[in-house]
């Protein structure tokens, strides 16, 4: 357990949201921002600075890698700017880090539920 914690330290909320967005499929930067907003019902909106700062860290850590845009996307997009956009993909290590974070959050939720139950029992 301890070694797993050292290997996969808790993720920041921005990092978690980015990895969650990419778990649904390869996305370009603006796609990630829109996916994160959609997943959080518009409550959490990443700025480009925060997004690329985190993406750089994730790419350096080997959790995310970039790929050229798919051919179908190139055909659909009319502007050159859109053609140049890179897509980001979750690597095997990235999937592992996301799974570890979800397990950690699950433990937190279980502990919180147990504490709340104890508190309610104490009040009764």
């Amino acid at each position: 357990m301890k070694s797993q914690t050292t290997k996969n330290p808790p993720l920041s909320s921005a990092t978690l949201q980015i990895l969650l967005a990419l778990a649904g499929g390869n996305l370009h930067g603006y796609g990630i921002i829109k996916e994160v907003a959609r997943n959080s019902d518009g409550h959490y909106r990443l700025g480009p600075g925060t997004l690329y700062d985190n993406l750089k860290k994730l790419m350096d850590a080997g959790l995310v890698s970039d790929v050229p845009p798919p051919v179908s996307s190139k055909r659909k997009s009319a502007s050159t700017k859109e053609d140049d956009r890179r897509f980001y993909v979750l690597t095997k290590d990235g999937k592992g880090a996301l799974a570890a974070e979800v397990d950690r959050l699950q433990t937190v939720v279980s502990q919180a539920r147990s504490r709340l139950r104890e508190a309610r029992a104490g009040n009764a």
Binding site: H28, G29, Y30, I33, R45, G47, P48, G49, T50, L51, Y52, D53, L55, K56, K81, D84, R85, R86
Partner: protein, 140 residues
Amino acid sequence: MISTISSSAYRLLLRLHPVSFQDEFGAEMLWIFDEECEQGRVVPLLLDGAISLLRQRFRTQNDPGQLSIASGTVITGPGMDPVRLLQGGVTFSLIFFSLIQLLSHPNLLTVSVRWSDRVPCYTISLQAPSHAEVVLDTTP
């Protein structure tokens, strides 16, 4: 007009980022900024860009890489002197928050351009809350 000023401010912020970061993500960040600006999220995006700049700068402090500044000059060395970094930070913050103040009160600043003998003449009018007005006219 406001979108032009905010876009220029964002470009300036991007140019203050480390060169490697600019090369890798600058174009995509600018593209997203333009898209998001259409939804009226200028101030949060500028703040986000400023925070990103600070993060990148503090991260590159220990790197022997290059530091580019707005004029395009490249300074090489083991990182920026902390005193210079502090001075630069204070100056930048003053300019940045003044700009945000102006952007959030569009009536305070008006800029008009007219052409005189193919030379652009700018009239910049800054109106103080007490209705005093400062006008800078570049007409020859």
